[in-house]
Symmetry: C2
């Protein structure tokens, strides 16, 4: 049970209750009541959250968690060099152990930053699933594949999704995870769409990541990457599209037809860092009813898994891009970070707000620091003044994973030490191999 401010909401109407308590039972929110009333409720444990806000945990809607191992390795490079000269050569060295250690470090960072659920899209995902089970976080996992892997890649992605669906006491959900329309053939995308339908699985993939990809697709195939998703049947499944900064005007009617099944994950920091000319067109997507969740992408491009920063940047970059200071208010940013993100990962009815019947994925945010005082507008304080480091306590399914900044399920120094030992082998690029070629 916690007391303090409580934030939850529906349809961009974020509600804050003062001096409230959240009653949690069997991993679910049982009730939200006035704090005075909660004093009489018998409880196994009570958390005093005075001076803090209880918020739905943040959702990282698109990341490659184990890539924290490459944080800061490929700096100040254009996208193509980033992939071809550093990231894809290094990833050809990846072992399951590297993925396991990277995932552990990533989960530590996310739990400390108030992230209670992440959508991961990577390789050796059995290792990631094991780390999720071990550390208590929630995750939406997909085993990535390229067509260059042959049929085996697609098959492994399916086996992973079927095997781990509902894992970690229901905290793991899964998706089929083709890499992107520029690395997966139309035939493989169509086969994936069939598998998605046959097995009731969603699809999580990159598409129209940037304007270059859209332009190249148009030049080579006469259709945009989004149109490729439609004609291959992928948009008939539940789809989570990563980035979409290259979504064009003509794509909007396509996406509108897929309304209710489609969502986009936006990770604005990397778009700035790569100097992409556009960002995710959130305003246009809102007009056609496509939810936009917040994300960090991998730390090799984003340098952190800080969804709090994504939330603030989304507000700032949207205002700037639209030339409208009234657009994407702090309440809208909170809505993207919570309910829209929950919908994006297919958990719109289970997480994303603090309400009876929802999973108890809750973070307690300290607002007593000088940088968050005074509070004239709680939404603005949360989005523009608070930082991920203000999260004191992180709870998933009613279990406390971090208490007063102390991680309870992960040993960071041990992970850092072990990961350090593996670095020389992981970073070796003398072999000249790549797992894939970037050529949009």
């Amino acid at each position: 049970m916690t007391r303090g401010h409580v934030a939850h909401g529906e349809e961009e109407r974020i509600t804050f209750l003062e001096d409230a308590a959240v009653v949690v039972r069997d991993g679910l929110v049982d009730a939200v009541v006035p704090a005075a009333e909660a004093a009489g409720v018998p409880a196994v444990e009570r958390l005093d959250a005075r001076g803090q806000v209880a918020m739905p945990g943040l959702v990282n809607c698109h990341t490659h968690a184990p890539m924290v191992a490459l944080r800061g390795l490929a700096e100040d490079l254009p996208t193509e060099e980033w992939f071809n000269d550093v990231v894809w050569p290094v990833e050809s060295n990846l072992t399951e152990k590297d993925v396991e250690l990277g995932a552990r470090l990533a989960c530590a960072e996310m739990i400390r930053g108030g992230v209670t659920c992440f959508a991961d899209h990577y390789f050796a995902m059995d290792a990631v699933a094991a780390v999720v089970a071990e550390c208590g976080i929630r995750a939406h996992l997909g085993q990535a594949y390229f067509s260059s892997q042959g049929e085996q890649g697609r098959q492994q992605s399916l086996e992973f999704a079927l095997h781990h669906r509902g894992g970690a006491h229901g905290r793991i959900t899964t998706a089929l995870a083709p890499h992107a329309p520029y690395t997966v053939t139309d035939a493989d995308l169509a086969a994936t769409a069939d598998l998605a339908r046959a097995h009731g699985l969603p699809v999580h993939l990159h598409a129209s990541e940037n304007r270059d990809q859209a332009d190249t697709s148009l030049a080579r195939h006469g259709v945009t990457p989004i149109e490729v998703l439609e004609r291959t049947g992928v948009l008939d499944a539940d789809v989570l599209i990563a980035h979409g900064t290259g979504i064009l005007e003509r794509d909007l009617s396509v996406l509108a037809r897929a309304r209710g099944r489609t969502a986009v994950a936006s990770a604005p920091r990397g778009y700035l860092k790569f100097a992409w000319p556009t960002t995710t067109p959130i305003r246009a997507l809102r007009e056609i009813g496509v939810p936009v969740g917040l994300a960090t992408d991998g730390a090799a491009s984003n340098n952190s898994l800080d969804v709090w920063e994504s939330m603030a940047l989304t507000s700032l970059i949207q205002k700037s891009t639209e030339g409208d200071p009234r657009w994407l208010t702090s309440r809208q940013a909170l809505h993207h970070a919570t309910l829209q993100s929950a919908r994006a990962v297919g958990l719109g009815d289970r997480i994303g707000s603090i309400a009876p019947g929802r999973r108890a994925d809750i973070v307690l945010v300290d607002l007593t620091g000088p940088h968050t005082q005074p509070v004239h507008d709680l939404a603005a304080t949360l989005v523009h003044s608070a930082r991920s480091s203000d999260v004191r306590t992180t709870i998933v399914d009613g279990r406390i994973l971090m208490r007063d900044r102390e991680l309870l399920t992960l040993d960071v120094p041990a992970v850092v030490r072990e990961l350090g030992e593996r670095m020389p082998a992981l970073l070796d690029r003398s072999h000249g191999r790549r797992i894939q070629e970037y050529d949009t």
Copy 2:
């Protein structure tokens, strides 16, 4: 004395020393030596900074510190409404006590965020100077004035600058502080330039804050705000120009002629939030040799005084604006945050690097958190992964102002409580007064 990594640098060449120690004596850096060597140096106090980086303290080159009292009060508004409907009406209520409390809260926030020096431009600055003396931070202070105040405003600005110059054991430097060319007449700017010359004082003011101001100035007067500064003689003094996002091509030759005396302070967060169409043209200013320091502006627009965020945003927004991912690297960002910022506030020979003879303004940054591991590129880790909350210890003039996150010279709960009591009177807008009208 501290041990750990040490970062200092000249001319964008940031050097990192591993396992080094900084010897501090009488408020100055005495030596930077290998840690082993320092073990034998007699010392009053030793700080163990293993796992941390010792960096020059950050400089906030343009803020209105007491405006933290208005943090989050005027959200999602265009510039004109922000000024005319909220900020300037509220500021007509300001008392010296409000300014004192705001300054105290601001200094707490800045010391916690690794800021060791700030350039302030506000009203009732005697109160700010007293807080600076009390809490141990360094500051470059100017009493702001509008021409609407008559000659008295300019006179008070001069008296403040002369009275406080060299105050707080030399930690306070001062400037004349006309508000901006659109609120101060040419005659008053010329008189200010004369005073600056006569008394050897620098000038700190807003100019060409945004493109609207530049366009309006051209339409009304046929000259840009920067050209106004030249023709009134202001550019013959040492000048710190806040923002300059409206600096035009034609202004560059003007500023080039003032090279060596002129600097610009950039606070990119607010430009995004107000949806201004441009940001400070850092690349063009670098080409003409004008240093650009980093800043936050006031918390009423920026929502924090987090210079660390300004550093990361400067890198990201510059890459995006210039369309070049190779531009404004992390090392360049660190150079702006330290040496260029020191130059911008007229302290280029005293602070901004950790080197013998410099004032011992040092922060210790913890890199053991999961979000800053592993470290492949220390500059990237500092700029893109570390956060202001990773600053563990803040030292000014050799005095520890924060130790292991504990503020030693300021009582935040007391300030917050007292400020809260004053809020109803401060926020009252029923009187319909403003301290000034925004009309560029």
